[in-house]
């Protein structure tokens, strides 16, 4: 049905536990094999935490969904060893242009900084992203990926949950110590546990079309307000692999979704945009109404929510899948430590604390962008147009700062997290406790490598210069020393610059590559305290 992609069909395999009728207890069950469930499974596998993934379907995401993945998400995927394939297939970009009517209003550059392994953004169809993750999981001994398994009921107990699962062979029951619900924006698990999912629906509709054509547009994000080819509305253009172009047409609230989806309606819109008669073909089109909503609590008993099941954002800013991947990045190491008895259950509570905070930040950004693109009243529309008109004046940079066609996804630092140890020593720069670690080029065993590839999955003590010990432990959790100058060489000095490091500087880094604490000098007692704090102990 697609011209540029053939959808894999994953086989339904009846499980031994369903056949035998024996009720088995699993440590971790993940519901949903969308990008977030798959990322959770990869992360669990990386931590040696066995899991079962249940998905009610048997293929990858169909249709026009996520396109843009941001640097931090790609860094997480790289830690999970699927990032390289995504970047290789994807279209990397960092520049964007915003147009108002027939004029260019301003341009931006997302990553004016060199010395990062991952690009600022890639564009890649969501089906490729999912396919690559399924490939990486397929033969993993710790991951049991089950297609055509639909969860239809859930019962909570104090130390586990019981799931009713429907397959082509009927229903059966399974138990799980912990469940991660990644069953998307229309999550039925949410309703099963009685969670609230509230927020805002935007009174607007968007036609999202994927078009195959040979075009010479640069690999940039182009956004038009009120262009001559689509008056009074906005249009967004993105390049994807395989000569597929994503075009979003704002339609307004009165548009008839069924009517607008018809090729005879779409083709003239695309034709008007192209402004010439070059050939193109329609790959897929959908009409969406967008919403910004959040679950009231990321945890209900033994069920943890991640991805769209926990928060839904409008796509301006590409924050949906990007922030969802950061949910599981935050969650899995905590779950592993708690399941192993190495951290108290309180550590799980920090998942809601940190990720609800991040979700609110994403929701705020997405709502603001959508309010700018879809003004709610004639008066706000006039302010919006005033901003756009002012932004055209070269000396009115303040107005360009107000133009909001979507603030693209960046990770939200957990600056107030209870897991952080606040700075007692003087530091400058961005690497405050609660911030995701910056990358930098380093040399390992004489070979060029990247800093982020040296950390993650466990606690690390990054030591600029010699440390008096090789590791520091709290209970059974150990933070190993990674010594700059010995284990890694900072030939360009970028690492030291980004971490505002002097000889003796020590960073305690979490398994998800976030800064937990930092000091100007090694002090074992303080490090043990900070490690305990990062474990909610």
């Amino acid at each position: 049905m697609f011209k540029t992609y053939s959808f894999p069909k994953f086989p339904y395999v009846p499980s031994p536990e369903q056949k035998s009728g024996e009720v088995r207890r699993h440590r971790l069950v993940i519901i949903g094999a969308g990008p977030i469930g798959l990322a959770a499974a990869l992360d669990a596998a990386a931590h040696g935490l066995p899991c079962v993934v249940l998905d009610d379907n048997d293929t990858v995401s169909v249709g026009s969904r996520a396109v843009c993945y941001a640097k931090r998400t790609l860094e997480v995927f790289d830690r999970l060893h699927v990032g390289a394939r995504m970047v290789e297939k994807g279209v990397s970009w960092q520049h964007g242009k915003v147009f108002f009517k027939d004029r260019r209003s301003y341009e931006f550059d997302l990553l004016p900084e060199d010395g990062n392994k991952m690009p600022a953004m890639i564009n890649l169809q969501q089906y490729y992203l999912e396919e690559y993750m399924v490939d990486a999981l397929k033969d993993h001994p710790d991951v049991d990926l089950r297609w055509k398994h639909k969860v239809t009921a859930i019962a909570q107990h104090s130390d586990h949950a019981v799931l009713t699962v429907e397959t082509p062979d009927g229903a059966f029951t399974m138990e799980a110590d912990w469940v991660i619900a990644c069953d998307g924006a229309n999550s039925s698990i949410r309703a099963m546990v009685g969670a609230q999912f509230t927020g805002q629906f935007f009174q607007d509709r968007f036609l999202i079309a994927d078009v195959i054509m040979k075009a010479a547009y640069p690999t940039e994000r182009w956004f038009w307000f009120d262009p001559p080819f689509h008056p009074n509305q906005s249009v967004l253009l993105h390049r994807q692999p395989d000569d597929v172009w994503r075009i979003d047409f704002q339609l307004g609230w009165d548009a008839d979704a069924d009517e607008e989806k018809k090729p005879e309606k779409i083709i003239p819109r695309v034709r008007a945009m192209l402004g010439d008669d070059r050939p193109f073909e329609l790959e897929w089109a959908s009409v969406y109404q967008f919403a910004c909503r959040r679950i009231d609590n990321f945890r209900y008993g033994r069920v943890l929510f991640a991805g769209d099941a926990a928060h839904q954002v409008s796509p301006f800013g590409a924050r949906g899948a990007n922030t969802g991947v950061q949910d599981t990045d935050n969650l899995i190491w905590k779950l592993k430590l708690v399941l192993d008895g190495d951290a108290p259950p309180a550590l799980i509570a920090s998942y809601h604390e940190e990720r609800a905070f991040a979700a609110d930040d994403n929701l705020l950004n997405s709502s603001r962008a959508t309010d700018f693109i879809t003004p709610k009243s004639a008066a706000s529309r006039m302010f919006r147009d005033a901003v756009l008109q002012l932004a055209e004046d070269q000396d009115a940079s303040f107005a360009r700062a107000l133009v909001n066609s979507g603030r693209l996804s960046t990770p939200t630092p957990y600056l107030a997290s209870s897991l952080n140890t606040p700075d007692a020593d003087m530091f400058a720069g961005a690497m405050k406790p609660g911030t995701n670690c910056a990358d930098a080029p380093v040399t390992v065993d004489g070979r060029a490598d990247w800093f982020l590839n040296q950390i993650g999955g466990r606690f690390t003590l990054l030591s600029f210069g010699p440390a008096p010990v090789e590791s520091v432990s709290f209970g059974r959790v150990t933070a190993k020393v990674l010594q700059v100058g010995r284990d890694i060489v900072d030939a360009t000095n970028l690492l030291a610059a980004r971490y505002d490091a002097a000889p003796g500087t020590i960073y305690l880094i979490r398994p998800d590559q976030y800064v937990a604490a930092r000091w100007r000098a090694f002090n074992e007692t303080k490090i043990v305290q900070a490690l305990a704090r990062a474990l909610s102990a």
Partner: protein, 63 residues
């Protein structure tokens, strides 16, 4: 800095005439658009968010 509500403009009658005159040639829609731009330009010039918030309130805006 607090929002100034005492007279801060030299020759107020002349200022007022200048303001009105600047929109002499406009219909209401054009004038409304100009007012929007003026608000944005002046707000950016003031810069201080507390002062702007105070002004929004004084003008009858919702808190």
């Amino acid at each position: 800095m607090d929002l100034k509500l005492t007279l801060n403009i030299a020759d107020p009658d002349d200022f007022y005439r200048e303001l009105i005159d600047s929109q002499r040639h406009m219909d209401s829609a054009q004038a409304a658009m100009m007012n929007c731009k003026l608000v944005l330009i002046l707000a950016n010039h003031v810069g201080d968010r507390a002062v702007i918030r105070e002004a929004l309130k004084r003008a009858g805006g919702a808190a």
